[in-house]
Chain length 152, copies 2
Amino acid sequence: MDTGLERYKQLLREKGMKTTPQRLAIFEVLADEPDRHFTAEEIYDKVKQRWPEIGLATVYRNIQKLSEFGIIDKLNLDDGFVRYEIGDPDRDKAKHHHHHLICQKCGGVFTFEDDLLELLEDRIRETMGFIVSDHEVKFYGYCRECARAQKR
Amino acid sequence: MDTGLERYKQLLREKGMKTTPQRLAIFEVLADEPDRHFTAEEIYDKVKQRWPEIGLATVYRNIQKLSEFGIIDKLNLDDGFVRYEIGDPDRDKAKHHHHHLICQKCGGVFTFEDDLLELLEDRIRETMGFIVSDHEVKFYGYCRECARAQKR
DNA sequence: GTCCATGCAAATGATTTGCAGTATC
DNA sequence: GATACTGCAAATCATTTGCATGGAC
């Protein structure tokens, strides 16, 4: 399975950055579980299983780079942590058709694919002259499970 | 002009909270400039002009309450500060038809009114069983001014 | 008079930074 | 071998909290 590792290595080379094992391990942790939304600390713990000597600062420094490169996406769930998830490997310059649904009961985070927002972005350009290049959309509410439990 | 002050006082009474001058001053700062997105520190500075003895902690404690009551809205622009703006005084239970456009060049924040998202929310309920009760939508890009400047 | 609220200072906790040693190219 | 990277510890900085005093009801 192509996890994008090679592409990542190449990108590092292009940028004059070195491919350290820690750096690759961090990437792999994110790439291995594309549906999770990792805290820096969670990434740290996960990487530590294979690289016990790694420091938390290294994780922070690298997720920052990863995020700059657009390889991972930042996500803020307003719980005091910045979270990260691996980006879609084959988005050229396409928008993220990817929103987050946050359950206010169980705290679960779900994703929803959609492209309705492009319509909205067109509308924004037309009426405001504002050119949208990215967006972040969060929906708060109750997931299927919790909504069902609530109804009784 | 009805700023909602009276309604706020009444709400405080109902909740068994006291109407201290600091508390009202904080509310007024937010209500006076509905289009601004205030940092806690900014609110503090503003209130300080009339109440020089006020403490920053008091501001934090009160905006937290205000936010719980739904009187002001939290807003995270990912710049390391939580921001606040006064909510729409006559939303009963209506959703916010109010999105934020953030210019990546000048840092300006604009608002855009729209109800297209309700369609999306219906779709989310139908396909995922997730019941949306609120949302936060941010668009990043270039404002009219900066887009124009960029083009040359 | 009771109880909530305030102001101050100290605590917290996620993230950043300085620096000396280490590994990659 | 030069330069970027790491790990550690210390620093930052927004926000929270403890506590004694003060004010609203």
